[in-house]
């Protein structure tokens, strides 16, 4: 155990800090759940890609830097410290990207990873259906093979940013006679293909962050299938591991929020009557640090050849509930200002906490509800009986 950064790691941190300071847009970008904001964020992704900062852990041939996981953590720490824009292509780069590296053919990697890394193609996720939420294996949308094509029919829902994205990665039932986890395949669909209808669903903030996607005889080439036919469930579960675990929610994001919460508390401490708020502030900071420590531990273990397992479920519960507690605490500190949108004249510079509070409500729900995660922990990590 050696908890000292190497000189190279310190130099890397300085390099990231300097590049971000020189390149981050001067004005905050509009929400990426608007057309204007989405394109601003796409432009930022292209800027990142030009500097080879889009996905630092990816191999150089895909626009990355071949960084190890500790360097990735350092990059993330600097990224959030600098208040850099949120990653509009996170479904692509954090979820599909690593899955493609593992299961993609050389041609698929060449075709999809390169354009994902360059910021040219933005991805949405198409897994949930009206009848398949927590019970994902209840998927009914079909992909029927006809020659070198699949013909897609069905409906997906809760697809984040699908309103503006270019592609969606889906799970379809390729074997109509199959049930549950069998007979599913992982298929990429361009959202401008004939027969695709994307209908926006406004989220809590009123913006079209979600979409439902309808497929009516949509045709895609067989080359758009990732992995073998029928292997979709296993590939999806490996993607879900990334989603719940390491990649999607790096600890720096929460540490930065916790640091701002401490600052907010200090600034308002004279107005605070509820004594439990101070305790919550301290708990938030400590928990954010615990999440970081846990991630450093996992990263160190993976770098020595370890594998990620059920801990991704443990992680998902921890960060989502931490994010809720941090924003609830901020709302408690803000009192009468808590309900104000950022654009309200009286909101001052604290209105962004409301956006964070609304988004924090989704954490325990998406990427597999925390109830499902608790079942996974009880059954797979602890060995409790299923039946």
């Amino acid at each position: 155990m050696d908890l000292i950064y190497t000189p190279e790691q310190n130099a890397f941190r300085k390099e990231v800090r300097a590049w971000l300071a020189a390149n981050i847009p001067a004005k905050p970008l509009a929400s990426f759940d608007t057309q204007e904001g989405f394109e601003q964020h796409r432009a930022w992704e292209k800027t990142l890609a030009k500097g080879n900062w889009g996905m630092v852990t990816w191999p150089k041939e895909y626009g990355g830097r071949g960084c190890n996981l500790i360097e990735w953590l350092i990059f993330e720490e600097e990224y959030y410290r600098a208040s850099a824009p949120l990653r509009v292509n996170q479904n692509g780069i954090f979820l599909l990207g690593p899955t493609l590296m593992e299961y993609g053919t050389p041609a698929q990697k060449e075709r999809f990873i390169t354009k994902m890394a360059s910021g040219e193609e933005m991805w949405a996720q198409g897994w949930s259906e009206p009848g398949a939420g927590s019970d994902l294996a209840a998927i009914r949308s079909k992909a029927i093979r006809q020659g070198d094509e699949y013909v897609l029919n069905g409906q997906k829902v809760w697809s984040t940013r699908a309103v503006f994205a270019d592609w969606v990665f889906c799970i379809f039932r390729t074997d109509p006679a199959s049930e549950r986890h069998h007979g599913l395949s992982f298929i990429f669909v361009p959202l401008n293909a004939p027969g695709v209808t994307v209908r926006p669903i406004p989220q809590l903030d009123g913006l079209p962050g979600f979409a439902e996607i309808f497929f009516d005889d949509v045709r895609v080439p067989v080359e758009n299938r990732l992995g073998d036919e029928g292997q979709g469930w296993n590939i999806a579960m490996s993607t879900a591991g990334f989603e719940r675990g390491l990649m999607l929610r790096s600890p720096a994001r929460f540490q930065e929020t916790a640091k701002r919460l401490v600052k907010l508390y200090r600034e308002h401490s004279n107005d605070i009557l509820d004594l439990s708020i101070e305790d919550a502030v301290v708990k938030c900071y400590m928990d954010a640090e615990a999440y970081a420590l846990s991630t450093y531990q996992t990263a160190s273990r993976l770098m020595k050849g370890g594998k990620i397992g059920s801990e991704s479920s443990v992680n998902k519960i921890f960060w989502s509930e931490l994010d809720q507690l941090m924003h609830e605490t901020a709302m408690n500190i803000l009192g009468w200002r808590a309900e104000l949108w950022p654009q309200s004249p009286a909101a001052g510079d604290v209105g962004h906490w409301l956006d964070g509070f609304l988004f924090a409500q989704s954490g325990p729900i998406y990427a597999g509800t925390n109830e499902i995660q608790r079942n996974i922990i009880a059954e797979r990590l602890l060995g409790m009986p299923r039946k």
């Binding site: 155990m1 310190n10 993330e76 301290v282 615990a290 970081a292 990263a299 921890f318 608790r374 922990i377």
Partner: protein, 354 residues
């Protein structure tokens, strides 16, 4: 940057785990409750023989020259087995204190050699605890008096036994006379050694609390998988699964906090307060939740003397308050974090680095 234990550290820990599983069974613990001392000299000698009391004794005094990081996994195993012998207090708390003085104090040097061989035993007092555990089986007591630290032979103190809820614990209040002969150190050095001892004490308690938490969850999982109601194991019910999953989340996220605290306590003892208090609070919460959710899972059985759960549950209740209760440690966290000059942020997780 490498936040893992070495193969050797893991392997040694696994061996100790197996040893404790075989020696420190619930039956053996129950038997020890019947004896007056509650302790087994034979078991202590076995712990000595596998080198556990010598781990943190410097090599020049006949020890293995290891540190708190090497010992922390062992301390967790002591908790998992609910070991009653004061191994953690001796090896992790008392020994490094003596080692800090041994270069200039022959008494400490000799005592360290004899602790390593098992010929002598110590107990550690500290103002944060009021009572001293295992003073009755110690040859010497390390006792604070203000900023002074004394090394007092047991014959020179008067012990009054105090009954703990945990039948394995042996606690004493100590009456003793301050004399010049027993003084080891005082002044600034005394203050810093007592502060470091407190941190190592809290660290050892935190490690045991996590071992206890996992032991309790293990018992509850086994019971709920076995016990049938309405024609199926009660463990199939989500309510019980989620009780246990909540314990696992707390425990898993307390571990890296504990390991950072062990690392900081051994590499930068002066800056370890925050890390150690974080670990003690997190481990205490994990163990108390495991106790509460486990007894709930056992139902009426959990409320009986016959059920082994209380062996672990009572130790958890006791250690959560030992070496500083949650209020003490949270107070240190508050003072550190809310200080306007506190250096906080993601780039400071491992302290100020170049």
């Amino acid at each position: 940057m490498d936040f893992t234990f070495t193969e050797d550290q893991r392997l040694f820990c696994d061996n100790v785990k197996v040893f404790l599983q075989n020696e420190v069974t619930p039956e053996a613990l129950r038997k020890s409750w019947e004896s007056e001392s509650g302790r087994s000299p034979e078991l202590w000698q076995k712990l000595v023989d596998i080198g556990l009391t010598a781990m943190l004794v410097p090599e020049k005094f006949g020890g293995l020259g290891m540190n708190a990081v090497d010992f922390i996994l062992i301390a967790q195993e002591c908790g998992r087995a609910a070991l009653a012998e004061p191994l953690v207090e001796t090896a992790l708390v008392g020994v490094p204190l003596l080692a800090s003085l041994a270069d200039n104090d022959e008494r400490c040097a000799q005592l360290l050699e004899k602790i390593a061989t098992g010929e002598r035993r110590i107990a550690v007092g500290h103002s944060v605890n009021n009572l001293i555990s295992d003073a009755h089986v110690a040859d010497y007591l390390l006792l604070p008096n203000g900023n002074q630290i004394h090394l007092v032979p047991r014959e020179q103190v008067h012990l009054v036994a105090q009954q703990s809820v945990d039948p394995s614990r042996r606690l004493f209040s100590v009456d003793w006379k301050v004399t010049e002969e027993t003084l080891l150190t005082n002044g600034a050095l005394g203050v810093s050694l007592l502060a470091a001892a407190l941190n190592r004490g809290a660290l050892g308690a935190a490690a045991q609390l996590l071992g206890l938490a996992e032991a309790m969850v293990g018992l509850a999982v086994a019971y709920t998988s076995d016990r049938k109601q309405f024609g199926k194991p009660i463990g199939v019910n989500q309510a019980l699964k989620h009780h246990m999953a909540n314990c696992a989340v707390k425990t898993e996220f307390a571990k890296p906090v504990l390991y950072r605290a062990a690392y900081t306590a051994s590499t930068h003892p002066v800056h370890a307060d925050f890390a150690v208090s974080h670990a003690k609070v997190a481990a205490g919460e994990a163990a108390l939740l495991a106790a509460k959710n486990s007894i709930q899972s056992f139902g009426a059985m959990g409320y009986t003397w016959e059920c082994d759960l209380h062996i672990f549950m009572k130790r958890a209740w006791a250690l959560d308050k030992y070496w500083g209760h949650a209020g003490f440690h949270k107070n240190r966290l508050h003072q550190w974090l809310l200080n306007p000059n506190a250096k906080i942020g993601a780039d400071k997780t491992f302290g100020e680095q170049a």
